[in-house]
Symmetry: C2
Subunit: 199 residues, 2 copies
């Protein structure tokens, strides 16, 4: 059986994390998401909320630093977080098969591990419902929250990787949780994983 | 049970047509692909090969004609083919559930019918193998064939629709046939269809 890791990239409010946990539970695997933030906070000394904000928003100075490969002390905090994030994700992957939600794990691990790379999205109506009713994170203008969050997530991904967030070329499957249903997405991923690892 | 139509958009050499036929057979539905070309040829008087070429390649004058809504006699042949294609696809859809491969059916039918919109893709290595060994359509430089065909297909789609070819926003699922396997893609679509229509 192949030692395959499932990576789940997702748009904000698409239930990608819920789906990741469902798949992990059914497979008896660990699912990593916010623990990675906490681990980065622990190792860097930064506050967890600060780490979270700086692993999604636009990297300004970080962009140049990551291109030029300057020494650690000249990196921006965002660059330091990226480096720690890469290290921690590699350490997680070394332990064996698991599910990793977000954090550019699909990119960080792509050349070293066998991956099932999934992208989860949903229509705006369903995402607004979820960030309002389930996450309780919506502002008075949840449409704007979606746009801002999508932009931050995509920009971060595209600055620190050479890939485009949500571009099908970089995933094995892209599933709409609003069209297919959250549980059904988990089922599709589970079966694809079982088939892939049985080969 | 909902009367849902499955539309399959696909990149060249990704086995989208094969998958469409597999799904249709399992569901006992009709699968439409090249019959649409033949029907356009029959109704327009154009040669089938000419229709095929002009329903993928770049539309030059057609672009402006489609924007301005000029009378039929001022349309380019490509515009005429688009209009006939839309009419024929609507006629097919009126008959009831079926599978339609390509021909922008996802866009043409989106506001009038309940659809399961699928996008099939594959990695270049597998596509080259398929267009060489199965389709016997490859030139001496099959990499170039892929690029040219992808470009023609996407350009046509983007000129005659207001959507971007292969952009996840416009599909319910995007599946890599090289990662997941052709038969497994058919199975995933079949099950999603059964779930959707049972609701």
């Amino acid at each position: 059986m192949k030692k395959t890791i499932i990576t789940i990239s997702r748009t904000y409010g698409s239930a990608g994390r819920t789906i990741g946990h469902m798949v992990a539970e059914k497979l008896g695997l660990e699912c990593y998401d916010s623990q990675i933030i906490n681990k980065i906070a622990e190792e860097s000394g930064f506050d967890a909320e600060y780490v979270k904000q700086n692993s999604e928003a636009t990297a300004e100075t970080g962009f140049f630093a990551s291109l030029t490969g300057m020494d650690l002390y000249t990196f921006s905090n965002r660059d330091k977080i990226w480096i720690l994030q890469s290290k921690i994700i590699n350490e997680i992957a070394e332990k064996g098969p698991c599910v990793i939600v977000g954090r550019c794990a699909d990119y960080i691990l792509k050349d070293k591990y066998d991956l099932l790379k999934v992208f989860i999205y949903a229509d705006d109506e369903e995402r607004i419902r979820r960030i309002t009713e389930e996450y309780h994170e919506a502002s008075e203008r949840p449409e704007k929250d979606l746009i801002a969050n999508d932009k931050r997530r995509a920009t971060y991904y595209e600055i620190y990787t050479d890939q485009k967030f949500g571009d099908y070329h970089f995933y094995d499957m892209c599933l709409s949780s609003s069209s297919l249903g959250v549980e059904n997405c988990a089922k599709i991923i589970l079966e694809a994983y079982q088939k892939k690892t049985a080969e």
